[in-house]
């Protein structure tokens, strides 16, 4: 397994070793994001002794990501369009603080070519690909053409279908079921599964409306639906000339195309499939002259055939599972590449890593987004556990932004060990004041489908996941004690808020075996 990967990685490393000169360093880096990813990027900046600048909207005053940075600048009202998507305000914050580089995180402006160009015009380095490479790989149609050019298998389909009648003809040619997708899209918006010709016209119009509303681009393409399929993606790093691959992540447990649990390696990927996927991903990065971190997503069919889906030209939410296996800090690699440095030389991957996304949502009541004030927060600690969080006790969670609160990641020598550690960690996590999907994550991890590795992109949505019933006596006893002896509890809550420090809970990465080190430090504090 690792031999195939190493063979693939070695040419990239050799080429990178030829990068001339000492990489320049940045003076100061602005993090154009919020929440857990902004906290996590600041953590690496601190480790690299690089001064950091946070930006925040009115809704995020005093938020953990603001406290994680050395400096912080208000960029506007709560609405994303006025703040975290406000290019002028972010560039003004960079100018005012003297930041000469911007890390975009994920989401928001991370895949905006106009933002990359605006950074260039302002004389600020965008930590990520060039606008041209971003457009070539970030746009679904253009990346699909690149895949065809590079000999990467793509799902049979048709691009830029003008109307429902044409979509119907193409679907008949490809064979039902088909998937309608927005050309400019992501996150599942503008996507529709269509099982028959009769259902096509309505689905086409609704996908087009959604695409137009979400992305300002109503172009649609139609493609064959692979079923049952797994979502498998390859992490890559490029330096503009060459690229290396860092194994796969399986993210099949999704709901409405939002990933819930991710792991590496995939139980379904053989050494041969991994090698072929990695070669495909590296070929795409080289073809585009890609510099920075990217993820190439594939659908893996039941027969081991795989198909190119799309490229995310940025850091992914689930990047920690790769970091924990490879003992590598991907944010650091992004920064070094942007500064003209070399591609890292990763060690061979070790063990198994699984990530669970803790969201402020109620999975037992229609996944409604939840808000409220965090009254108590206690993160799990333990061997192989990493917590990337953007929340603190006392913080009020609002619904302006996405519902991700934290990522709980477990590493173990085997999949079973990682799964057991993650279950123990999630069972030990206490967050009071806002409903989350914590119990649901535990149910998923305990489920036979996950335990056996039989996870597919439809697994989560094809079944119902009833709320656990019954309230243990102990829970009622605890409620009663708090109600009848309230004074002590008030003091206790205050202690918990004071004790919170985002740094103590973040865990560590960047070295092989870092996970165990993080756990040791966490419990020592």
């Amino acid at each position: 397994m690792s031999a195939a990967r190493a063979d693939l990685a070695r040419p990239g490393v050799a080429a990178a070793a030829g990068v001339a000169g000492t990489p320049r360093s940045f003076r100061k880096v602005l993090v154009a994001n919020r929440g857990e990813i902004a906290v996590r990027v600041c953590r690496t900046l601190q480790a690299m002794s690089l001064p950091s600048v946070a930006v925040f909207s009115d809704a995020d005053r005093g938020a953990p990501h603001v406290r994680a940075a050395v400096e912080a600048v208000r960029i506007g009202p709560a609405a994303p369009a006025d703040s975290y998507l406000n290019i002028a305000a972010i560039l003004e914050a960079a100018r005012a603080t003297g930041a000469d580089a911007i890390h975009p995180g994920y989401g928001f402006l991370s895949q905006s070519a106009p933002f990359v160009r605006a950074c260039g015009e302002a004389g600020v380095t965008f930590i990520g690909p060039s606008a041209e490479a971003m457009e070539r790989l970030g746009d679904k149609e253009s990346s699909r053409r690149a895949a065809v050019r590079c000999g990467v298998p793509v799902i049979p389909g048709a691009e830029d279908v003008p109307d429902a009648a044409r979509a119907r003809a193409e679907a008949a040619r490809i064979g039902f079921p088909v998937l309608l997708k927005a050309a400019g899209g992501g996150g599942g918006r503008g996507m529709r599964r269509v099982d028959s010709a009769d259902a096509l016209p309505d689905a086409f119009e609704s996908a087009r409306r959604e695409a137009m509303a979400s992305f300002g681009n109503g172009r649609i393409f139609v493609e064959k639906l692979i079923h049952p399929a797994r979502h498998v993606e390859i992490q890559i790093l490029g330096d503009g000339k060459d690229a290396i691959a860092l194994g796969e992540r399986e993210c099949s447990l999704q709901r409405r195309y939002q990933k819930v649990i991710e792991e590496s390696p995939s139980t379904a990927v053989t050494a041969a499939v991994r090698g072929a996927m990695e070669r495909a991903a590296v070929a795409l990065a080289r073809d585009a002259g890609y510099a920075g971190a990217a993820t190439v997503e594939f659908l893996l069919g039941p027969d081991g055939s795989f198909y190119f889906l799309e490229v995310n030209t940025r850091l992914q939410v689930e990047h920690p599972v790769t970091e924990m296996r490879f003992g590598l800090d991907l944010v650091r690699a992004q920064i070094e590449i942007a500064a003209g440095g070399r591609l890292p030389q990763p060690s061979a991957p070790r063990g198994h890593a699984i990530e669970a996304r803790l969201n402020a949502e109620d999975p037992y009541h229609g996944y409604l987004p939840q808000s409220g004030t965090i009254l108590l927060l206690d993160w799990p600690k333990g061997e192989g556990i990493r917590v990337d969080a953007g929340i603190a006790a006392g913080q009020t969670i609002q619904t302006h932004y996405d519902s991700l609160l934290a990522k709980i990641v477990a590493h173990g020598a085997t999949r079973e060990e990682a799964r057991a550690r993650l279950r123990t960690a999630l069972a030990g996590l206490a967050l009071l004041g806002v409903r989350t999907n914590q119990r649901f994550l535990l149910e998923l991890l305990a489920d036979d489908a996950f335990a056996s590795g039989g996870t597919y992109t439809h697994t989560l949505e094809s079944r119902s996941w009833p709320a656990p019933e019954g309230i243990p006596d102990e829970a009622l006893v605890a409620a009663g004690i708090l109600l009848f002896m309230p004074r002590e509890a008030v003091a206790g809550e205050r202690d918990d808020a004071d004790r919170f420090s985002p740094w103590l809970s973040l865990g560590a990465w960047g070295r092989p075996g870092a996970a165990a080190g993080a756990a040791a430090r966490g419990s020592a504090s």
């Binding site: 004030t373 006893v477 605890a478």
Partner: protein
């Protein structure tokens, strides 16, 4: 002394009573009896029954109590049952905001006597007004908000001194 635990979890009313004596606790629930000992450290309560110990995290919010145990979290709403019923007025001394909103009027005056049902203050949120009333007879100890204040869900607004100190048995 057994005290009724008048709580609601989502749509279901919980009918139980709790007896606390030192570190011992007895829960009577649906005709069953659960006996345990407990140890408390701030927001953490260890409940031990036989050789089983469960560690619970607890926090009070305006309308009720949050409890987390082994990865599951419950919010128990305090049920203010009909007048004359035996289950009224748990933690009646703290009036907290039932939602995030704005205080539009304050009727409570520190030191004043209040009777059950007396208006204490009015909060507005999403163009709806909520009137907070005294859960039982007593007096106003402290008023911690003023008209126009923006208040968060669970924020302490008024402290009362009930005439009978929690003795709804």
């Amino acid at each position: 002394m057994s005290r009724p635990l008048a709580l609601r979890h989502e749509a279901a009313s919980i009918d139980a009573a709790l007896t606390l004596r030192g570190r011992s606790v007895v829960l009577d629930r649906d005709g069953r009896r659960f006996e345990a000992t407990f140890a408390r450290e701030g927001s953490w309560i260890d409940v031990r029954s036989g050789d089983r110990t469960e560690r619970c995290a607890v926090a009070r919010s305006g309308r009720g109590v949050w409890v987390a145990l082994a990865g599951t979290t419950w919010f128990f709403e305090i049920e203010h049952r009909e007048a004359g019923s035996r289950g009224a007025s748990i933690a009646a001394d703290e009036i907290r905001a039932p939602m995030t909103g704005r205080v539009v009027a304050v009727a409570a005056v520190p030191g004043a006597e209040t009777r059950e049902g007396d208006l204490l203050l009015t909060i507005e949120a999403m163009k709806m007004e909520f009137k907070l009333t005294a859960p039982e007879n007593g007096s106003v100890l402290e008023v911690m908000c003023a008209p126009g204040d923006r208040v968060e869900l669970g924020q302490l607004l008024v402290r009362l001194k009930p005439d009978s100190d929690g003795g709804a048995t």
